[in-house]
């Protein structure tokens, strides 16, 4: 089988070795999100230090796209100032829903997820972790 245009190597690499992966008990999860249409499930914990995202841990029971997006997100936002993360997160989600392109250099590995836009039913898979992060940041008062 030819390498699928959606399942690029970079996505499969994140799927295979998800960054920030952790086992999070239900009771200790800051955010516990389920996609009711497919059963994808993300638990997320985050902590700030001096206005920066000092810790992001994710427990993801999801498809390759969902897991890879979560992993790329951790890589992209860890150690970054909250003031930068929130607008980027919004722009990324907007782009995935058909909004304006985010410049390639800002996306990094996330650029590989742009192919998901050809499959409208799966855009949610690619944005779920970002919603979870957004919820966590609001809880942290960021």
């Amino acid at each position: 089988m030819q390498l699928d245009d959606l399942y690029q190597e970079i996505i499969l690499d994140h799927y295979k070795h998800p960054r920030g992966a952790a086992v999070i008990a239900d009771a200790s999860a800051m955010v516990d999100e389920e996609n009711p249409t497919c059963g994808d499930h993300i638990k997320l914990n985050a902590a700030l230090d001096g206005g920066r995202l000092a810790r992001v841990e994710i427990d993801c029971q999801g498809c390759a796209i969902c897991t890879a997006s979560a992993s790329m997100m951790v890589e992209r936002v860890l150690g970054r100032p909250v003031g930068e993360v929130r607008p980027f997160s919004r722009a990324f989600v907007e782009m995935m829903r058909g909004g304006p392109e985010v410049p390639e250099e800002e996306l990094g590995d996330l650029a590989a997820l742009r192919g998901v836009r050809q499959y409208p039913l799966r855009v949610k898979c690619a944005t779920m972790a970002w919603h979870a992060l957004d919820t966590a940041l609001r809880q942290l008062g960021a």
Binding site: D4, K16, C38, Y119, R122
Partner: protein, 410 residues
């Protein structure tokens, strides 16, 4: 013997090509089935020739529309072996039918201390309405456990059937595990205990002969779109004595006899439960659909699907890393499966690239998924127009998915 290749020609959509010219292999029939040309034509003819509101005006079109609508009802009554048109209420589908019973019958007959028995394999549509009823009335819900191979634990069922149980609401066939439940035994035991029985027939009525008189159920809920009919139409069968002890569900036009500003009296059965302008074209279309199914023969459909299901379970089980969920001896063609290390969403995506439509997700049965220790499964579900060649195409595609992920992530 039923000839699927011949019958496929009745379904224009099945000749379609998808995803760069691949022939469509439609294996998501438990979600909704395709429609034969005769049903599509019936909808078209209704709007071109006789569209009018029913049971109201006295003009010619109203007469024709009313007659066609009621003829649809008569066909469906015959199809499920009921005797009286008064016992068949048109709804939007199984979900609305069950909600109708939960409100119109449940509100009046359940109170704190009473119990409703469901099972762990119910679709959300035969679970949530009862949760809401329990919250309204204080009644308790009890659940028949599901065994590892996917059957109901009948000993546990008999053990929980006491005098407090007023209703047993179970699925005739599981939309996830494919299990066909021994509903005759379940109904007889419930009746001996003084409880009423609702059958969720969404997955059984389309695939096997279902005779409400022979089964003796009090209520049967089913959907038109899962049996060659249009979306937006379904039905509730209820024994006439049950209907007589039910309050109206929705209030409005059509369901009344006499209305003053202060109060109203109700129309005769079944109109008492059909408020507002109904889905007229849907009822006509569903009537044509059951006629179409009857012409093939529900026995033939059932026999053919049994054979195809056996073949599909065997064939899929040979795919490396694939586990079929649901190994009940009595089963229909809803076949759910897991693949080692590959999420169902990814599975469904890959086979879709080969033009094959299957379902991935929790299939509206989250408690059952939790019980089986999974968050989601993939499901292929068959109908009489599916073929062994299509099952083979799915198996080949799944083996390639397995290979791809093994190489990419191994």
């Amino acid at each position: 013997m039923l000839n699927p290749e011949h019958l496929r020609k009745d379904f224009p959509i099945l000749a379609q090509r998808v995803r760069d010219g691949k022939p469509l292999v439609y294996l998501d029939n438990a979600a909704t089935t395709q429609k034969p040309q005769v049903v599509i034509d019936a909808l078209d003819a209704y709007y071109r020739e006789i569209n009018a509101n029913v049971h109201r005006a006295i003009h010619r079109l109203a007469e024709l529309a009313t007659e066609a609508y009621e003829e649809g009802r008569r066909k469906i009554v015959r199809f499920i072996g009921a005797q009286d048109e008064r016992t068949l209420i048109f709804t939007r589908g199984t979900t609305e039918s069950i909600n109708l019973v939960a409100h119109a019958w449940g509100n009046r007959h359940l109170k704190t201390g009473d119990a409703v028995i469901l099972s762990e394999m119910e679709h959300h549509s035969n679970l949530v309405p009862w949760q809401l009823l329990a919250a309204r009335t204080g009644a308790e819900l009890r659940f028949i456990p599901v065994t590892e191979r996917g059957t109901l634990d009948l000993d546990a069922y008999h053990g929980m059937l006491d005098a407090r149980v007023k209703l047993v609401a179970v699925t005739h066939m599981s939309n996830v595990l494919g299990t066909v439940n021994p509903v005759r035994e379940i109904i007889d035991a419930a009746h001996r205990a003084g409880a009423r029985v609702l059958l969720d027939g969404a997955q059984s009525v389309p695939h096997m002969p279902v005779d409400v008189q022979a089964l003796g159920c009090d209520f049967l809920a089913f959907s038109g779109h899962k049996m060659c009919g249009p979306t937006g139409i379904g039905a509730l069968y209820a024994r006439e004595d049950r209907l007589a002890e039910m309050d109206p569900f929705l209030g409005g036009g059509e369901m009344i006899s006499k209305v003053t500003l202060e109060r109203s009296t109700w129309a005769d059965l079944p109109h008492k439960f059909e408020a507002g302008t109904p889905d007229i074209s849907g009822a006509i279309g569903l009537g044509v659909a059951v006629e179409y199914l009857s012409a093939i023969g529900m026995e033939s459909i059932h026999r053919y699907e049994q054979e195809l299901t056996r073949y599909a379970v065997e064939t899929l089980s040979r795919v490396p890393g694939l586990t079929v969920h649901g190994l009940a001896p009595e089963r229909g063609g809803a076949i759910s499966f897991a693949m080692d290390g590959i999420h169902p969403h990814d599975v469904a995506h890959f086979v879709d690239r080969d033009g094959i439509a299957i379902r991935a997700g929790h299939m509206c049965a989250q408690p059952l998924m939790r019980k089986r220790g999974v968050t989601a499964l993939s499901r292929a579900s068959l109908y009489f127009y599916n073929t062994r060649a299509e099952v083979d195409a799915l198996a080949t595609s799944l083996a390639r998915v397995q290979e791809f992920f093994a190489r990419a992530t191994g």
